[in-house]
Chain length 371, copies 2
Amino acid sequence: MDLKFKLKKTCSCGARLGEFETKWGKHKTPMFMPVGTQATVKTLSPEELKEAGADIILSNTYHLWLRPGEDIVDEAGGLHEFMNYKTGPILTDCGGFQVFSLAKPKDISEDGVKFKSHIDGKELFLTPEKSIEIQNKLGSDIIMSFDECPPYPVTHEYMKNSVERTLRWAKRSLDANKKRDTQAQFGIVQGGEFEDLRKWSAIETSKLDFDGYSVGGVSVGEAPDTKLKMIEYATKWLPEDKIRYLMGVGEPIDLIDGVIRGIDIFDCVSPTRLARHGNAHTRNGRMNIRNAKYARDFTPIEEDCDCYTCKNYTKAYIRHLIVADESFGQRLISIHNIRFLTKLMEDIREHIEKDDLLEFREEFYNKYYKK
Amino acid sequence: MDLKFKLKKTCSCGARLGEFETKWGKHKTPMFMPVGTQATVKTLSPEELKEAGADIILSNTYHLWLRPGEDIVDEAGGLHEFMNYKTGPILTDCGGFQVFSLAKPKDISEDGVKFKSHIDGKELFLTPEKSIEIQNKLGSDIIMSFDECPPYPVTHEYMKNSVERTLRWAKRSLDANKKRDTQAQFGIVQGGEFEDLRKWSAIETSKLDFDGYSVGGVSVGEAPDTKLKMIEYATKWLPEDKIRYLMGVGEPIDLIDGVIRGIDIFDCVSPTRLARHGNAHTRNGRMNIRNAKYARDFTPIEEDCDCYTCKNYTKAYIRHLIVADESFGQRLISIHNIRFLTKLMEDIREHIEKDDLLEFREEFYNKYYKK
């Protein structure tokens, strides 16, 4: 499926303003995608996601394969029908990251990965063909090619073999997609912190006919500077006219820095995961609502925030809910955190228009990170 | 505060149709009140409660006293402001039931009850005056007098001493209410399964100037027949022109049977507690959504239910959420279960109008309880 990506403007700093289309409408980039791991963005309804400014959401192939199983989702009429998400596109990942991080792989071969389920220990085998078959059944709007996501750090030799195999898997993934007319497909660039391997992976993957390219293996434990270099090494070799997606990154400054390095879309579990621990994003930094100083604070998390939570609830109440382990507290902070990131992306788009994103970055950084 | 209770009709079977007023509007009885133990009806927003047909909700004095503390709720402007529940009244219980069930009382004296907090083991002392002072600060629309809720069974002698003390506590509770102009107050009839003590408690409590009377100590482990007798023993001595409230009862047939014995309002945690375990009410009985037979059932919990859940989600999806331990599943079933009970009360009111509640009971019982 052609996403009709239009690059509307490239900033002097490297940031890109764009737009693409799906059957759900037009989608502005740069954008942030909340994650609905198990066919639900934790604690939230589709209506709340929409109100919080979410557009595309991501769901996890690995998790849905194990539970409830792709056949059930298929019989339901696909993931949109199954989870009643009918206001925007869904992107599914390929399962690679979860297989390598959650499931403790037993054995990686040219064919695929043999590993044990993190739920019941059952032995499973995931291949590029299987990952695509599952994603075809899930019926997401954008699917990802199957890749190896190596741990950090590994040797140059290990990574070279890995990116070469990931490229062969990318070709197999592309050949396996039986629904290319309705499901767009992205390739994944790996290569760790090695400039030559990122370059090779980006150039070779770009030769394949993907609808977008993602940068994988970032935010797996490397230093902040290394992270930015990993992105740069990849993006400078990616085609201008295709969407670029940085996987698993959701820290506010990383979103801005990713955009400056030419990234268009991002996903991360962080807004809902932070919420579970009582952490809320604010322009003045991360706030832990459990802090005793909020016990009598009858103002919203952020006075000028337009989210449902900030319009209706106080820090004192949300703190009470989190301390009392009431999931409504997690829900309220999740709504705010998602809105914080979708609003940040709106601001980023505005500052690309004005071509003053670097000034915005400076201002944002000083408020959020310097106490 | 005068609730201006109007008894509009008494059925041949004993069921009563009524209406009362608060500053939030007019409220039809018989009615069911969902419970928001810790200033939140678990997993639900105020908007969802309203949409599910909830009118009054109940919150727990004991829990709010311990956390966040009544002073914080008071400073917030009362419980409605604190929890953003602005579409209907809130009733608070007196803390008695929780003190006796959760907190393992150390020592009951004429003055009050000394016990340890179930949260941190801290020693606490609750008296009628303290219970009312807390409820005054919580700012609920209806408050309850402090009572002793003895375990079941106890001896006649124990119960006699207990109901006599509960009556003295009722007088002290009434004297302690500094906000009678804005907070209506109910007395509580105790007496266990003893007809003479229920009668005595009902008559003596009725002599005090309460705005309503509740029947306590029911559903604490006694047999179904005993339960109904406990209610009858009390209600036949209660004044016709005051609201009658059966505390802690939420099993569907018990609601109908309570109404037939002259009860006007009910509360119970059951709709949300059942939801947590994946249990949903249907007219054909209780459904455990975890059952494998629902894995591929793409129909709603109840086809003809008008709740948000049934209009938008399938059993297969809700089952997946519950099995995967996603709180959105609990939320969806909670919405349905609350709507099931508010709809049941609407049906009960309709059948009181038609004076065929006993036929409705028979029909309901046969569908819900006989497999």
